[in-house]
Symmetry: D2
Subunit: 407 residues, 4 copies
Amino acid sequence: MSDRIVLAYSGGLDTSVCIGWLTEETGQEVVAVAVDVGQGGEDMELIRQRALDCGAVESVVVDAKDEFAEDFCLPALRANALYMDRYPLVSALSRPLIVRHLAEAAREHGATVVSHGCTGKGNDQVRFEVGIANLAPDLKVIAPVRDYAWTREKAIAYAEEKGLPINQSKKSPYSIDQNVWGRAVETGFLEDIWNGPIEDVYDYTADPTVQREADEVTISFEAGVPVAIDGTRVSVLEAIQQLNTRAGGQGVGRLDMVEDRLVGIKSREVYEAPGAIALITAHMELENVTIERELARYKRGVDQRWGELVYDGQWFSPLKRALDTFIDEAQSAVTGEIRMTLHGGRATVTGRRSGTSLYDFNLATYDEGDSFDQSQARGFIEIYGMSSKLAARRDELSTGRPSGARS
Amino acid sequence: MSDRIVLAYSGGLDTSVCIGWLTEETGQEVVAVAVDVGQGGEDMELIRQRALDCGAVESVVVDAKDEFAEDFCLPALRANALYMDRYPLVSALSRPLIVRHLAEAAREHGATVVSHGCTGKGNDQVRFEVGIANLAPDLKVIAPVRDYAWTREKAIAYAEEKGLPINQSKKSPYSIDQNVWGRAVETGFLEDIWNGPIEDVYDYTADPTVQREADEVTISFEAGVPVAIDGTRVSVLEAIQQLNTRAGGQGVGRLDMVEDRLVGIKSREVYEAPGAIALITAHMELENVTIERELARYKRGVDQRWGELVYDGQWFSPLKRALDTFIDEAQSAVTGEIRMTLHGGRATVTGRRSGTSLYDFNLATYDEGDSFDQSQARGFIEIYGMSSKLAARRDELSTGRPSGARS
Amino acid sequence: MSDRIVLAYSGGLDTSVCIGWLTEETGQEVVAVAVDVGQGGEDMELIRQRALDCGAVESVVVDAKDEFAEDFCLPALRANALYMDRYPLVSALSRPLIVRHLAEAAREHGATVVSHGCTGKGNDQVRFEVGIANLAPDLKVIAPVRDYAWTREKAIAYAEEKGLPINQSKKSPYSIDQNVWGRAVETGFLEDIWNGPIEDVYDYTADPTVQREADEVTISFEAGVPVAIDGTRVSVLEAIQQLNTRAGGQGVGRLDMVEDRLVGIKSREVYEAPGAIALITAHMELENVTIERELARYKRGVDQRWGELVYDGQWFSPLKRALDTFIDEAQSAVTGEIRMTLHGGRATVTGRRSGTSLYDFNLATYDEGDSFDQSQARGFIEIYGMSSKLAARRDELSTGRPSGARS
Amino acid sequence: MSDRIVLAYSGGLDTSVCIGWLTEETGQEVVAVAVDVGQGGEDMELIRQRALDCGAVESVVVDAKDEFAEDFCLPALRANALYMDRYPLVSALSRPLIVRHLAEAAREHGATVVSHGCTGKGNDQVRFEVGIANLAPDLKVIAPVRDYAWTREKAIAYAEEKGLPINQSKKSPYSIDQNVWGRAVETGFLEDIWNGPIEDVYDYTADPTVQREADEVTISFEAGVPVAIDGTRVSVLEAIQQLNTRAGGQGVGRLDMVEDRLVGIKSREVYEAPGAIALITAHMELENVTIERELARYKRGVDQRWGELVYDGQWFSPLKRALDTFIDEAQSAVTGEIRMTLHGGRATVTGRRSGTSLYDFNLATYDEGDSFDQSQARGFIEIYGMSSKLAARRDELSTGRPSGARS
């Protein structure tokens, strides 16, 4: 059972062809592992069988949708993870989950090598390989597309030559990665960054410009976890799925950006993430209501670094784990309900309600009878402004006028 | 000419009443200073005359719209300033400008005291007084509403008693502050944070749910400064004004949030800032195209701190000035054009074009013939992942499994 | 038993006088609470009795030395807490502990008011009152020295008039606060910041310029906790005490600095903290050996913020608690031994040994036979340097030369 | 004149051998460039001649000591640059200077390739190559030691075979890099991190344990630049050199640490940097006196990131340049004098004097007649503590006790 190769298997042309090629090239048996993260498309059982038909010695299919939602999407939600303030880390979240299953399968099936189908210019190769290095540091990695320059053309020729059961009728113009948290689209005409996306690019979201009735939804959170929608208890997976449908139906969650890749180049990306964007929008506002100011300010920096680390393939790194503990602690009081209107491509918060709210009507109101003691303000301002005032006075003494003043 | 009081004069009831009251209370002459920051409403000449009618010894009106746009809104744009990731600092930007004019008027008119009409529970009192402390550290401040508990009722009674020329027919239910960068609304029923805003609250923006034709706009920037709209050169003020009209006409820029005040409480705020939001959205994407990754990542933290400082009334502080130099340097290559669609409450970037772009089609394309050398990736990943891999191996040795692995 | 006042009692003149004065002024009974944080000096039983003699209805003495070491000094050590890179937070650590005991005493003895003897221009008033606000938000605070302008002269006169049992023979020129973590000294001649401290100022440390034998010590840590000295198990308190003696005996831990107070002014401070400095020096180097690079880099920022928050009186704040969880996680592998030489005012690390070390001789050695694969470096550098290289090339294209180059 | 190679030439065995080998291997002429950064040792003219004797077509020697001090050491001083809070970036500072001269020589002598003698496991290869990529992005790099596995043994054999004029009598056990800012030592027995350094390792510093007279020095700064020592004007280079002698003579500036390399491993390093440590110590304290609190707090983070970037070979990167502007602005008032005692391995500040001091005796003094208005403190504390107090009260309501309280 030793010296097997565990292959991250998608069911598509590239990784199907890999099975036979890896066996030939290395003399090692290939174990195919396909992970269902809610990408939709083909039946997983078909995929499992195809790997066997292509020569895999074992073919494993894992329904990881709940695991993905709870262990990967949820931490991202609690971190309000938006890389470059925009991208909710769709692919970056699924890679470490797949890595986890590859590492476990390698242990179980006695493999010493892991293989994946990523190219050498993207982020995913890094996420796979750094993930493997962190979870199973002694496994080796083979990436045929990158290390042996497998092209699509070579793959098609190989499949025909070997009579592999792959239908490769017509190449889609889109390169797509999708899961329950969202969908990423790359395609030739979008590589010209002056071109806008066309409607055909989208699948998770309806056209936001079409007139339709607004949809009002109330999302309940407990300690930063979405637990109910419109009063009905849901799992995290169900929350995402239902909001994919409802927010997606209103055109919410389309993103189009130029993005900084880990490998040092900029790329153009189009994403759809209706559920993710609706949930993050709601969660951020509930944090506004329930998190103390200084914690909230610091958490923005933590959230940013968390998103960068996960984007950069460091899911299993020591820093990521330490940031997780910070975020967990910060979520303890993020409990309550957010009412939103989903409509016309927008997810708009219209109400918040929380038993752990820090909003205090009696302090905040401008009505009479408020409980805020305004007489404290003068002393506060005097001492709060002291250090910059002393600097201004010093500058006035040494330069003739305070630094902020116009000459 | 000594011992005068310079009053920040709005033309409204509170500050009109202050003129006489301050004179009586202190025996000092009052110089009224009204600053036009694009708040609209009454003619500034009417306001100037009213101050005189109410007893001011001098009444100064300053058209500061261009100054406001260039010296205050523009730095905010270059910092992508969104307090709590939402609020583009509408009032927080105008206060230091008013302070500048108060300080200069005090010098010119020989005043030793400055007065403003803010309450003791808001941010603006801090912005006024810390600003004064920084620009003219020896001036004293009187804030009658806060320090002498002037209520609206007292003010009306005083105005009637003195026969002041103020029409206070019907109290508006809304407390509003507006300028060319945006508009802030507070009102009783929004103090219940479960209540959503009603259409009546808004003035700068049309209802986004009404069907209308989309508006496509192209904004040109030079070194982070908006210089043209649809190819026609504009001043910063014109850029903001035109986008207020065009983005506002599409319902862009409505904000509704619970906000952390500097005085330690949370408050509910509704804002409209169509031009600001359209410009910041465009500017952020142009930064994505033209700013190097590590600079861009660090700048997010700088931008956040800049926004907090300005929100917190520290416009003239040493740290704010040092952050400005960082941001200036970071803007040097932020030159190019952004095409956006304004529609249905959304400002959506659809194209970017820049002579200083860092997006390199030849490196990024997945077409054949790209210039990215994929053979470098393996070495990169090996060394990039080294430190977390060594930590994982250490943990495996000391605990039996890598820290990231499931038990 | 209601409406009592709990007084933070030091046994000194000011707080002794407070007992009677508070009773007279408010009609409430005073409960004196004295906390032993290792300040040395008088026997705590004498202090307890003096409070009763001065009119306290109850007098409580708490031996909190172990609690102080474990709950307050230890977190500071794990955070390498050095405010402004220098000051190990001596007084800032004891205040929240005292607050904890005041709040608990208030609950136990039915008090509604807390009183302390701090002035109105220092940090300690803030630490006491914000601490009380966080632990017992409904208690009121009276600070007679600040709020009623009690001067030393008034206090002496009051004590004589009432025949209070306080010997106030001769005023020491030094204002001192000390505990097991260190000692702070303020005094008139040091308020001229050009003056250097004289030997008489110091008590915890011997003159470092006197010749003596060096002292070699080995400190063992488990998960960031000092657990043994020279192989003998110690409690945290014992570790600090023994190092106070040994490092203090070598003149280690003297500090002299201008410091930024929370109340906005700068002050001159002289400290001694031999045990704290020796422990932090050892701990930092053990972190260098056992903490992964990116976690270590981020932790420096967390440590800085932690120190600022604690200095600023925010021990019990939500952000401080969240930073604690980060630091706890980061300490999990900080286990091993540090050998130091204590001599001539210096604590110098000379050796480190750890079962959880990340230092890998086989990777690091420049001897032959190392396990570092140098062939990876080229690819690493190419991709690691990509983003700044693209920026340089862009600048060359648009300006004629790369931005870093000389003109 | 085309297709030449510019070689970073040290005069030592490795790079001397490179000259002939590169010529043979590539058919290109070699231009040797040796840069004097104050490393001492051989006469630069000898080094220049040796390159010619070894076959260089041109041999250039640059006296860059002043340039190094002013353009590289000075920014490091103003950033208080201490990587991992310890290491003043000795080698990391000289590499970009050498790169600058290599790039300029390549332009002048028509070279298309640059060569250096670094190994593949250190930081310097990255600093050279990323530097070149930033200053002259089209140059190629050859690193024979790394890319062609040149060992010392091969080099000696090659030198003997070709009769090159290199005396390689006895290998020093130490691998040393030194310049005017400091000296780095690596050696076999120190690769066991439990071993302490021996006296023989040091050259810039005398044994601090030897008894000698203390040396008092006063350093004057103008806007963060050291301009005088004991009242005599000095250049930056002279300031460093004089303090190397005087602080070095007192054993100041020895460092021994485990360090995080950019290539992901930890290494043991011993440094000496007497002038650098003395200057940074003085500069930090002058900043304490002259920089406003919030700017000072933020600058610590900027300084840390600056040091990491420079350590990581990003001297010419966009982020480094933007941080420079921040630091420049922050230095504007860092003017004054620091008096220090150099003795027994310690550089101890004993006095500060500044015309731009923010220390205000009248505010700080505890004597009577101070100008601090203590009555402001109560209001300050109330509002300053508000947000955490509200959080504590919320926690008490929802959990039964404030979060900070013990159960």
